[in-house]
């Protein structure tokens, strides 16, 4: 397969109970440049217009837009649009990757042992973080996949398949702050939860794993047309293997991301890379309405040419 192009529209709307006098927001919405991904167009529109904004690159290389409002407003609307081109990713033979123990040991500290800069960066993804825990339980869950000397990618793939099989997708079971221990106890959740759990298992095994935030192409039900706003943001897992680099796994769909996963960026967990994070002065109870649309280039004109097209505001996270 060759190159594919997508248009992504990601809209977020907050209604505040009371006027907000001052607010700071950080947006992580710009798709990253990768060997297999080019962001050929990206723009963010905000209403009301912020008093000021600024872009910077965070410690993990993601582009962040910082907004500041210092005038009363009772709603906030963020419209992000991106044109992204994807090439097929390099394929890896799972069974011929190095033994998982060798990955673990390569990054293990020994006094005076030097590590290269890629491995140095990977070690940042070996430890506990806000949403990721290292637990004996997680190690025990992971163990059946990590038989001695098993090739690391085969082991990770097996872990992903087991999570896909044994955990139920259930948007009602969790919210953005559900701890990963609870996700494990109930065996239910959404993409964010599965990613956090899989990362916890991997790090407990000593394998560096990071949290990837992005979008996924969905297919309308048979016979139905694609709807604007019917998609959602997505999250999956990336695993580090010396020599091979970072390789993605999507435990929500039991696939290895290729031409249908659009990457925004990554961090140690959701809290590092949440699409929108903010602090308000004043205001009150507010759940955002979010509408995401991922359209293959071929369908673009068709979808957006209909003036009366229905627009949906969906739940934050979806399969």
């Amino acid at each position: 397969m060759s190159k594919v192009s997508y248009h992504v529209r990601h809209e977020t709307l907050y209604h505040y109970d009371q006027p907000v006098g001052e607010s700071h927001q950080l947006l992580r919405l710009a798709p990253r440049e990768l060997a297999w991904q080019r962001c050929v167009g990206h723009r963010i529109e905000v209403r009301p217009e912020p008093s000021r904004f600024k872009d910077f690159v965070d410690s993990f290389g993601n582009t962040v837009r910082a907004l500041h409002f210092d005038a009363d407003h009772d709603s906030l609307f963020v419209h992000s649009e991106s044109w992204v081109e994807l090439d097929p990713r390099p394929t890896h033979d799972l069974e011929s990757s190095p033994a998982w123990e060798s990955v673990r040991d390569a990054l293990r500290y020994r006094a005076g042992k030097r590590i290269d800069s890629e491995s140095l960066q990977a070690t940042a993804f070996l430890f506990e973080s806000t949403d990721v825990r290292l637990k004996r339980d997680f190690g025990e869950y992971a163990r059946p996949s990590f038989a001695p000397e098993r090739p690391v990618l085969a082991a990770v793939d097996d872990l992903m398949q087991r999570i896909f099989r044994e955990f139920s997708f259930d948007p009602e079971a969790t919210d953005v702050s559900t701890p990963v221990t609870e996700v494990y106890a109930n065996r239910r959740g959404v993409c964010q939860d599965f990613a956090h759990f899989m990362i916890s298992c991997l790090r407990t095994q000593g394998i560096p794993a990071r949290y990837v935030s992005g979008y996924i192409l969905t297919r309308p039900p048979p016979g139905k047309k694609r709807l604007v706003g019917a998609d959602a943001t997505h999250a999956w897992v990336s695993v580090f293997c010396p020599d091979l680099g970072w390789i993605d796994f999507d435990p929500t769909n039991a696939v290895r991301p290729d031409l249908e996963h659009i990457t925004i960026g990554w961090g140690r967990d959701f809290s590092d890379i949440s699409p929108m994070r903010g602090v308000l002065l004043g205001g009150g109870g507010h759940e955002p309405e979010i509408a995401v649309t991922v359209v293959p280039e071929a369908e673009f004109t068709d979808l957006y040419s209909d003036p009366g097209l229905p627009s949906l505001a969906l739940r934050f996270r979806n399969r």
Partner: protein, 832 residues
């Protein structure tokens, strides 16, 4: 004092004694002091001990033991006997501490920069990335002046052979320097002559270095630097020290909400406007400093602070993320890091440490557990330090299991038998008792290198034989005297006596938070008072009964619900109107969940008052406390409710008296009065409108309670000696500017205060109030002389409804302009 003082003090065979070299024999550098002690009579020593205790109490030196709002703030405990360090010892100590500060600063620069220590295998990644103290969002930031560590503290212990060892590094916002200074001020006064004769180093120079270092390294762009001390607030355990240090250094003491970040620049919100802050000496932990990028649930921080740091627009002392070095697990790696980063051997050893994350270290620890002290490798683990030889068999098995499961989370240290020093006791048989001691030393960054405070906070174990020193668990402290080779000059940042030039007529730059709380204190106390008056009128009629009561009551209830004192008829649906009314009135007095009830107003008032505690006299507090108690327990009968309302009114009147006669009339006070006037203008206008908008035949019976609600009955009776009539009542409660409860009076005095504030604070005068004053002056009262004066009533009602909305608009304007410094919706695009 007989020589027995020293002879009765036990000399320890197995540990170092700071005062004695042998039984009854002082160390050479302590000899002069010991001789002085022996020359003093029992009484004279007793007096000095009393002096020290009293000084601590009268200066209000405290240490909050429990960090909760109701916690006990415990007086600071200070022993009158200083710990003396010889000039020779000091030379070694100070050089070693300065080197360690330099080293840790360089480690921070590496960890938040190139991270070569990890790449070269000099530091395990687990001890950096695995620490919650490592703040990824801070990676890549370069502080102005290039220093990460501006105020550093290190805890030292002396082993039996007399050598000093580092047992802990404090790198975020170290506490204790202020307490050390406070100790010095008290103890040097207890032994003034000895202090002079022994050539003891002064502390002031150190604090001046700290001040100057921050001022010179802050990104001021040539402006006069404004440095603030950021505190988590009064509930923090060392809040006393924050306030004390802020005063001593001349820095405003601020909480997170006093600061705002705009255009990556930090500003202090003051009543005079936003003032640029160049440096922040912080006592707030990393996690809490910026809810936008660090811990999201922090209410103590400043949103956007990290952005200002990233832009190099503010100096943080210490740099955000410096808490990562507070792990004892780093000790073992420092000697090699020192060679690598400084090219020097580490001058002072850390206590021997084994980080269990390394295989051989783990084996050693498990084998020698009995001789070791076990600590968490990550300070965020909140684990108690364990002494191997005190562990029971069960505890031992448990800890061994935990260590084996997560070896990288534990560090073991050699157990150092702490040195001891004498403390003065009230026990007449043995005046001097030995206690374990440890030193906390401080270093400050200057552009020319680190300066070490020639003194220390000596921390003393709470009891004999106790090995763990912790202020949290009730330890004591000592002043620490460092001897100089030569006589030292006297210098202090505190002037001995104030001169004319020091006299202040008003406080400078009052933080907006203070003005805001005073403003709402004014509004809530006025609202409590007016609600209490109208509810009392209603209750009196309900209890008293009478022929016309229903008619009067319905008007009253309408008025009460109009000002929000009672739930409206629509909300209070019920089958039995009689019971419902009684319940509604009781709820209006005591239901905390009902917005606008007396109880919830009083609660809000107490909250505002708490934030400006230091500005209120004890008498004022007494009244505030009584006020809150007035509706507790909740009254259950109408009679009890009436009693409670009487109490509330009495206290409210006292508060009004304090406001006018018991407070200094500075900028903050103006806002208290503005709050009262605005609230009364709104409330009164609403009440009068209710009367004016009533049907003509219902109006007359309303005038009686209107006069009561406007506290004007006495004046009316004295003036007219007849039952209330519309024209004179309207004149008295709307137009008569000599009546402090009239609408006109509120408008008049609001204008006066606003003019004065506009002049003082350099803000333009809000325009609304002058227009209102003109309308009142132009109103033709003769229209009320007509037999039927409906037109006049409706005109006045319109005017008063304008007055009411003006009051609220004004409140909003003041809130935006002076307190939060943001633009209002009507001027959406204007940018500060």
């Amino acid at each position: 004092m007989p020589a027995g003082l020293i002879h009765s003090y036990p000399f320890p065979p197995d540990r170092f004694d700071e005062m004695l070299v042998d039984r009854g024999m002082p160390r050479p550098h302590c000899e002069a002091f010991v001789r002085r002690l022996e020359n003093l009579s029992h009484n004279a020593l007793e007096q000095r001990a009393d002096f020290v205790a009293e000084a601590i109490e009268s200066d209000g030196v405290t240490y909050n033991v429990y960090a909760d709002p109701k916690g006990i703030s415990r007086p600071w405990e200070l022993d009158m006997l200083p710990l003396i360090i010889s000039a020779g010892d000091w030379k070694h100590l100070s050089a070693a501490v300065a080197q360690r500060a330099r080293l840790l600063d360089a480690v921070l620069a590496d960890l938040y920069g190139p991270q070569k220590l990890i790449a070269e295998g000099l530091l395990p990644p687990a001890l950096v990335y695995g620490q919650r103290g490592y703040k990824w969002p801070c990676h890549g930031t370069v502080p102005p002046g290039g220093r990460f560590l501006h105020l550093y503290a290190v805890d030292l212990a002396r082993s039996p052979d007399g050598n000093w060892w580092v047992i802990a590094d404090r790198t975020q916002g170290p506490s204790g320097a202020g307490y050390a200074l406070q100790n010095r001020i008290v103890v040097s006064q207890a032994f003034p002559d000895t202090f002079r004769n022994l050539h003891i180093h002064k502390l002031a120079g150190f604090f001046r270095s700290l001040q100057e270092g921050l001022a010179r390294m802050a990104p001021t762009g040539g402006d006069t630097p404004l440095c603030v001390l950021l505190t988590p607030g009064p509930y923090n355990e060392t809040y006393f020290e924050h306030a004390f240090l802020a005063r001593y250094l001349g820095f405003p003491l601020v909480e997170g909400q006093d600061l705002t970040v705009r255009d990556d620049t930090v500003y202090l919100k003051t009543l005079r406007g936003l003032r640029r802050v160049h440096a922040i000496l912080r006592r707030l932990d990393d996690d809490f400093c910026d809810p936008l990028e660090l811990r999201a649930d922090s209410a103590l921080g400043v949103p956007g602070l990290l952005g200002a740091v990233r832009a190099g627009r503010v100096l943080m002392a210490n740099a955000l993320g410096s808490g990562v070095l507070e792990s004892a697990a780093l000790f073992g790696f420092l000697p090699r890091i020192s060679e690598r980063l400084l090219g020097e051997p580490l001058a002072m050893p850390s206590v021997a440490s084994w980080w269990c994350g390394e295989g051989p270290a783990l084996e050693h620890v498990l084998e020698h557990l009995d001789e070791l002290v076990i600590k968490p490798a990550f300070p965020s683990m909140r684990m108690e330090t364990l002494f191997g030889h005190f562990l029971s068999a069960d505890e031992r098995t448990q800890i061994v299991e935990s260590i084996k499961a997560q070896p990288h989370a534990y560090v073991a240290q050699e157990w150092v038998r702490l040195s001891q020093a004498p403390v003065w006791t009230p026990n007449a048989r043995q005046r001097l008792a030995p206690r374990s001691v440890g030193l906390r030393l401080f270093a400050a960054a200057t552009p020319d290198g680190y300066v070490v405070m020639p003194g220390a906070l000596t921390r003393v174990a709470p009891g004999g034989g106790v090995e763990v020193i912790s202020m949290q668990r009730g330890g004591m402290s000592k002043d620490t005297w460092v001897q100089a080779d030569m006589p030292v000059r006297r210098a202090s940042l505190i002037k001995k006596r104030l001169g004319v030039i020091d006299l202040l007529c008003t406080g400078t730059d009052i933080p907006s938070r203070v003005g805001e709380n005073l403003f709402w204190m004014g509004r809530h106390s006025e609202r409590s008072e007016s609600s209490a008056r109208i509810l009392r009128a209603a209750l009196t009629r309900l209890v008293g009964g009478g022929d016309d009561i229903d008619k009067e009551l319905s008007g009253l209830l309408l008025a009460a619900s109009r000002i929000g004192a009672i739930t409206s008829d629509d909300d209070a649906a019920g089958d039995d109107p009689e019971v419902t009314l009684e319940q509604r009135l009781l709820g209006a007095v005591s239901d905390l969940d009902q917005p606008g009830s007396i109880a919830s107003n009083l609660r809000a008032l107490a909250l505002n008052a708490n934030h400006v505690r230091e500005r209120l006299s004890p008498d004022n507090w007494h009244v505030l406390n009584r006020l809150e108690a007035a509706v507790r327990p909740s009254p259950t009968t109408l009679d009890q409710a009436l009693g409670a309302l009487d109490q509330v009114l009495l206290s409210c009147v006292s508060l009004a008296g304090f406001a006018m006669d018991g407070m200094t009339r500075d900028e903050g006070w103006h806002f208290l009065i503005l709050g009262r006037r605005i609230e009364r203008l709104a409330g009164l206008s609403a009440l009068v409108s209710v009367v004016l908008q009533a049907r003509e035949r219902d109006r007359e019976p309303m005038l009686e309670w209107l006069l009561a609600a406007a506290n004007s009955i006495v004046t009316y009776r004295a003036r007219y000696r007849r039952s209330p009539e519309l024209l004179p009542v309207m004149h008295l409660v709307v137009f008569d500017t000599s009546n402090p409860h009239s609408v006109g009076f509120q408008v008049h005095s609001l204008k006066r205060y606003l003019v004065s504030i506009a002049q003082d604070l350099g803000h333009p005068m809000p325009p609304q109030i002058a227009g209102l004053e003109q309308c009142l002056a132009r109103f033709d009262l003769t229209a009320f002389e007509a037999e039927h004066c409906e037109a006049a009533c409706s005109r006045l009602a319109t005017l008063l409804s304008d007055a009411e909305s003006t009051a609220y608009a004004l409140s909003d304007e003041i809130h935006h302009r002076f307190f939060i410094h943001t633009a209002r919706q009507s001027r959406l695009r204007s940018v500060a």
